[in-house]
Amino acid sequence: MSRPRNGGLWQELRVPAAAVIIGLIIGAVFMAMTGANPLTAYGALLSGCFGKPVNISETLVYINPLIFTGLSIAVAYRAGLFNIGAEGQMIVGMVAAAVVGYAGTGLPRAIHLPLTILSGALAGAIWAAVPGYLKARLGVHEVVNSIMMNYIALYLSHYLVNGPIKDPQVIAPYSREIADSAKLFRFFGGFRSEFRVNTGILIAVAAALLVYYVLYKTTTGYEIRAVGANADAARYAGINVPKAMAVSMLLAGSMAGLAGAVQVCGIQYKFLDLFAFEGFGLDGIAVALVGKINPFGVVGAASLFGILSRGAQMMQGIAHVPKQVAGIVQAAIVFMIAAEGLVEGWLSIPGLSLKKAGKAQKEDA
């Protein structure tokens, strides 16, 4: 690590752990108020996420794209940019992977699979390059452009899957199924296994390692972080600020694009028409912030979000908690983690006087 923190892992995790617990308590209060039994509900959350092997598999399937989009937001954020466009970058990643996955039929797997995955990353990067370029060269704020690019991606994919890339064999707006040579292996069983968890999760972890490596071990990452932390000082030090911003946007776009490619190659095997944004990109923002913009933190936060999102569905399905209340539980936890200072303050209230007394005694001794 470039900057080991004093105090160790427990210090780092103390606040998020307390935040989760407080969030769960607040959620329980809400559920009790609306007439649901919090214990049954949380039981449903746990069993729904981890009860059966297939549940664990599905939870991981949910976590997988969140890792990528969380990384995407985090990388841009390190350069001081807000990549709200991960949503659109993920869509073009899906489309690109669906097209290459089908069009490359006949290629050997060793070439076809990487090609398909990378085409998704490339498409995402290109999509991010537009707001990245406008920001770096002209100083146009990236948020507005990213949002526009999201809509362009959504409607473009809608057009494509209803026309040029639509599978003529079926009525529904699907693209053709990609070749087996472009599919990611599922860990248990073949491509039709009900255990949908696949090697995409390994790609996600590798991506987190890669982002960590780039940010903390390379000069490019140093530039990105310097620009994000103090653009003025970076400029004074001779760092090319626009370039660092552009590079971080490209990296961010490729991460979101990977999210799409892995979704297609590991789960869907085709592009399915979207009627609205799926929300992985938006959730990625919360994932990145909760993960403290740190690649490993992102993996942890994505896991938490995956569990909560899937758990919310399970609470609805099994414990009949209204969808909105399940949402509130989720929001309460996120809010508590985001309001870190608040939780930290609470933690120190009872501890403060104890700590003071203890230290004072030591000093006197």
């Binding site: 470039s2 903390y216 000069t219 000082a233 001779g238 003071k356």
Partner: protein, 520 residues
């Protein structure tokens, strides 16, 4: 202690504060009498700001007690302090740049109409009233971005007074002020004192301690080493107490041996942020082996001149040459590579990345070159060991090279910059306010290093608002007034009086070119 003694307005007893790896305050006792100006003195990182932040409720002490007017007080946050009548003006200001003076002053306690509407007229009136009461003239409707640092400081002082402060903590208020502003501040402090306010005054300038305070408390490495009546002490004694050894308060330097012209600035014109001319037709040259000082009242174009030379601001016209090569409007990186180093005046904004570790900050310009990185891969081993070396050499007080620069004391932040810049084998050193916020020991050291650079044949361009510093270091002195160089004097010609007149625009020196010939 005499029994007849009044109850002090403030008594801190046995204050201890441990930061990771640093014992910032070690059983500190500090008392402030009613109506006194009490100087708090100590080396960089001695724990002065920490002690005052504890008093103001920004940090919690690990142990110790605070009594205000004889009553033991629990101060957990600034609001508690304010309720007790304690106000603080920080070393680094905390104003909202885009707000007006009045808006900043009422922030947090805005006067309201019908409960919810901000009553700006009432705010402005209130500000006027209080500022007149204390003789702190200020325009309530000016934006913070548009007013000088001295004015911003008045806003901070007013802010504390408006909130009812009787005990005023001023953390290095003079570090950012011009000499004129310092005397204005002193007048304000005397006025406040006359109205019964008690003041804690942190400074590194011993002259100021002698000039304004009644008592002085000296801290070294977190401990109080003495609490004295100012009238019964001397500058030398204070310096010795502070640093723990004798300090050379005057720089030892031999005659200059100027060589080739290294920096030549020819008829330079530069616009400021509002696109008004800030530097007007400036021509200068600095030879290897000499220190050229630029004197002037703040805001007379020095900042823009330095920015233009260092590639941070475009030159509207004119030329900048470095060792015969045209470097006008060059990229900062090209300048660094040709041997220009720069100590910027605003350390927190331009000189450091506060969230980065010291090690990361030490390679801010050089990270992309061997040995710090090879083929785009950073070599942390080398970076960190270089940082450790510089920490050692420049006596930066820190628990290690991995702590964020933002956690260092103000003076130690400055030392990080000085260490980084002077260690880069420069041809030309551009130093703007290089010793701002440094203690006497550190100033001695930095001055020594600048003279050393000169003696090694480097060119040094020193911009300082402090005449003392200019007179101590410079071999030649250029005075700027309203964007122009109104004269270049040799050190022998320069007297404080003449420089003062020139800086005020009341006198012109000899022709710059002529004086160059005279000394060259």
């Amino acid at each position: 202690m005499a029994q007849s003694q009044r109850v002090p307005v403030l008594a801190m007893k046995g204050i201890t504060k441990q930061f990771p790896g640093v014992l910032a305050n070690d059983r500190v006792d500090f008392t402030l009498e009613q109506g006194e100006i009490h100087a708090l003195l100590g080396e960089n990182g001695a724990g002065k700001s920490t002690l005052m932040k504890i008093l103001y409720g920004l940090y919690g002490a690990d142990s110790g007690t605070i009594s205000v007017r004889g009553q033991e007080a629990l101060i957990r946050e600034p609001n508690d302090a304010l309720r007790l009548g304690i106000g603080m003006v920080h070393q680094h200001f905390m104003l909202v740049q885009q707000f007006t003076v009045a808006e900043n002053l009422v922030l947090g306690s805005e006067p309201r109409r019908r409960g919810i509407f901000l009553d700006m007229n009432a705010a402005v009136a209130k500000v006027k009233e209080v500022s007149e009461q204390y003789g702190l003239a200020i325009d309530p409707n000016a934006r913070i971005t548009d007013i000088s640092v001295g004015m911003q400081q008045r806003v901070e002082i007013l802010k504390a007074l408006l909130r009812g402060a009787d005990i005023l903590i001023l953390d290095e208020p003079t570090a950012v002020l011009t000499p004129q502003e310092v005397s204005e501040l002193f007048a304000i402090m005397r006025n406040l004192q006359a109205r019964g306010k008690s003041i804690v005054f942190i400074t590194h300038k011993l002259k100021e301690v002698m000039a304004i305070s009644e008592r002085v408390t000296v801290v070294r490495r977190g401990r109080v080493v003495g609490s004295l009546d100012t009238s019964s002490t001397s500058v030398d004694e204070l310096a010795r107490l502070m640093v723990g050894r004798d300090v050379e308060l005057v720089v030892e330097k031999g005659p200059a041996h100027p060589g080739e012209e290294i920096l030549v600035v020819d008829d330079l014109n530069v616009l400021d942020a509002r696109r008004l001319p800030a530097v007007r037709g400036v021509s200068l040259s600095v030879r290897g082996g000499e220190i050229l000082g630029i004197a002037g009242v703040d805001g007379n174009g020095q900042t823009q001149l330095v920015e233009a030379i260092t590639g941070m601001r475009r030159c509207a016209s004119g030329r900048v040459m470095l060792a015969g090569k045209d470097i006008t409007n060059s990229e900062p990186r090209r300048l660094f590579e040709s041997g220009v180093v720069h100590i910027p005046a605003d350390r927190q904004r331009h000189g450091l990345i506060l969230d980065f570790s010291i090690a990361e900050n030490m390679v801010l310009q050089t990270y992309y070159r061997p040995p710090f990185s090879v083929k785009g891969r950073l070599n942390w081993e080398v970076i960190r060991s270089e940082a450790r070396r510089l920490i050692e050499e420049f006596d930066i007080r820190t628990p290690g090279e991995d702590v964020p620069a933002g956690s260092l004391s103000g003076g130690n932040q400055q030392k990080v910059i000085v260490a980084r810049e002077l260690s880069r084998q420069p041809e030309l050193v551009i130093a703007a306010q290089p010793t701002r916020g440094l203690d006497v020991g550190a100033i001695e050291f930095v001055h020594g290093r600048l003279v050393e650079a000169r003696d090694a044949g480097k060119a040094v361009l020193l911009v300082s608002l402090e005449l003392d510093e200019i007179l101590a270091l410079a071999d030649r002195i250029a005075v700027m007034y309203e964007g122009e160089v109104v004269g270049v004097l040799s050190r022998d010609e320069a007297t404080e009086e003449l420089l003062g007149l020139m800086m005020a625009g009341a006198a012109r020196g000899s022709d710059p070119d002529a004086s160059e010939v005279a000394t060259g």
